[in-house]
């Protein structure tokens, strides 16, 4: 079974760990979000790709969900002693090495997809990890500070400001000119199942879908597409998805996110049992829906979620109308 997963950072990575357990023989291709990549200290940092790589490769800081386990912060402290920041982004010494290797390879002319493959040769994540694009896409968030309009890098909004002011708009700068990384469209076309894990629908999966060709490929794929709600009981399972959902005019409910993707894009949708009341609402939008436990408390619970998603996909696949007639979901 060939499974394609569009993934952001922590939520996507944890879901993938469950999926690997649920479908140990599947060939899993992960299309990773690179919209929150950032240049720090002259180095290229790809937080979402690294979170997937470290999580599946056994190097993640489990507690925190990102960064390396057993991390030290000597380099960062020294940079601060030089007066060089930002200090709000937590780069540890082990993590620095990843960014140094990546930056060196990019500088030597390798595309990000080749660099990611090279890094994964060490981590052996057990999935094929592809960046959504080799082109630079950078998610910016429009905010208002003291009555003035500003646009900040997503990481500044998310990590430094902790989404403390409303997001007026979320713009994946560069996405329009970007092309999908080698293998992305082929993997989607050849997939037996396509999954949207409970990643952020705007700044993670939304950014991936903003790369021209990817949304269209997902909509046109012969494989059923199943998503898992990142909203449980009207609040994000983790993170601050509600902050950026508001910016795109979407309510923080499991049903609203399903409708945001639309029946042109997703065939099935899982909501948490506490949101069982939303099932009818989602199905009314033409999307097959089930209510199952959606809290990724441990790998077993996450594997159970993945099994439910695959079961819903199998069900949707049997009765699927030809995808070509579905439109793009816009």
């Amino acid at each position: 079974m060939r499974i394609v997963v569009l993934a952001g950072g922590i939520g996507g990575a944890r879901f993938l760990r469950g999926l690997k357990k649920a479908a140990p023989d599947a060939e899993i291709t992960v299309v990773g979000n690179t919209g929150d990549d950032i240049h720090l200290f002259g180095l290229k940092v790809c937080p979402d790709l690294d979170t997937v790589m470290y999580t599946l490769g056994g190097g993640i800081d489990e507690e925190q969900g990102w960064g390396r386990e057993g991390e030290s912060f000597t380099v960062k402290e020294e940079l601060a002693a030089y007066g060089v920041g930002p200090e709000w982004f937590g780069l540890g010494d082990r993590d620095f090495a990843t960014h140094i290797v990546r930056t060196q390879m990019l500088g030597a002319g390798y595309p990000l997809s080749a660099v990611t493959e090279a890094l994964c040769a060490r981590w052996r994540p057990g999935v094929r990890l592809l960046p959504m694009s080799d082109d630079r896409v950078e998610t910016h968030v429009a905010i208002e500070v003291d009555g003035e309009q500003r646009a900040v890098h997503f990481q500044e909004y998310w990590v430094k400001m902790r989404a403390s002011v409303p997001a007026r708009a979320v713009v994946p700068v560069g996405a329009e000119q970007a092309t999908p990384a080698p293998g992305v469209l082929e993997a989607i076309a050849d997939a037996d199942v396509i999954l949207f894990p409970p990643s952020n629908p705007v700044v993670s999966i939304g950014t991936i879908l903003a790369v021209p060709g990817i949304r269209e490929a997902v909509a046109a794929a012969s494989a059923p597409v199943v998503g898992l709600s990142p909203i449980v009981g009207d609040a994000p399972v983790r993170g601050m998805a509600d902050k950026v959902l508001a910016a795109v005019g979407v309510e923080s409910t499991a049903a609203a996110v399903a409708r945001h993707y639309g029946s042109g894009l997703v065939d099935g949708w899982l909501v948490d049992t506490v949101d069982a009341g939303a099932v009818a609402d989602v199905e009314a939008a033409g999307i097959r829906c089930r209510a199952v436990p959606l809290m990724m408390t441990d790998v077993d619970a996450t594997a159970a979620m993945a099994r439910e998603a695959l079961a819903l996909a199998a069900e949707a696949g049997k009765t699927a109308e030809p995808k070509e007639t579905k439109g793009t979901g816009e």
Copy 2:
């Protein structure tokens, strides 16, 4: 008193510490060798500038003479885990931060001299540290391995191979096209005293003098020029200077090094007391010479050496013939 010192790494840095003690009120300008700079992991490493900066700024590993005190090696170990080397160059986590800042600033368009000034804002070395040039100069060493001629980066010859094969030639690649960094020629012209510390005459001071304009400026300076022999009792005080002296056809003796610089360049020369027999030989070459203890066993001993150098300079200065008539020492 304005003193200009042409300095390599460890020997130059330790001498400077003594000089600062001997002449606490002097304005000291250090023209640092950048010929052994190297790009490692995509980062610009300037071993000699950093050794001077760390030594005078109180951050040096005293035992080793280079690198930072209390160093850890997490980044390097992680890079090795990615299969990325070289492993033979000892870059610690603290040291990495320096190279990251430098590389970021160079990438942003700052010249090395401005970057060095910025780094020194933290270390406050108590001297004005100038790179010999903002242009890239890279010392290569021609060697023969298994009957084949090869040229290797100086660091590869020195650190990796530990000068274990004879050097056939030492070539400061790029020097001919390089120009002195801003302030270098002015400092030399305005100096009251110019000193050559017991740094390597070939790959440290020789490289600095290879930048067009610097040798000429030293020869033409009104200030007396005094050098301290890096050879004591026919062996280098430290390092492997004999290996590269052979490549330029100079014997490993205190007198031979003095003659190598020549009376067109240096007015005075200090040899160690064990080489007192060389004094007459050096003076016969037209260079004022004294035999004094030249072992930098501690800061006080080094300060005493610096005082002797300044005394010899004062003596030479009083009776100096106009420098313009001295030629270039070539």
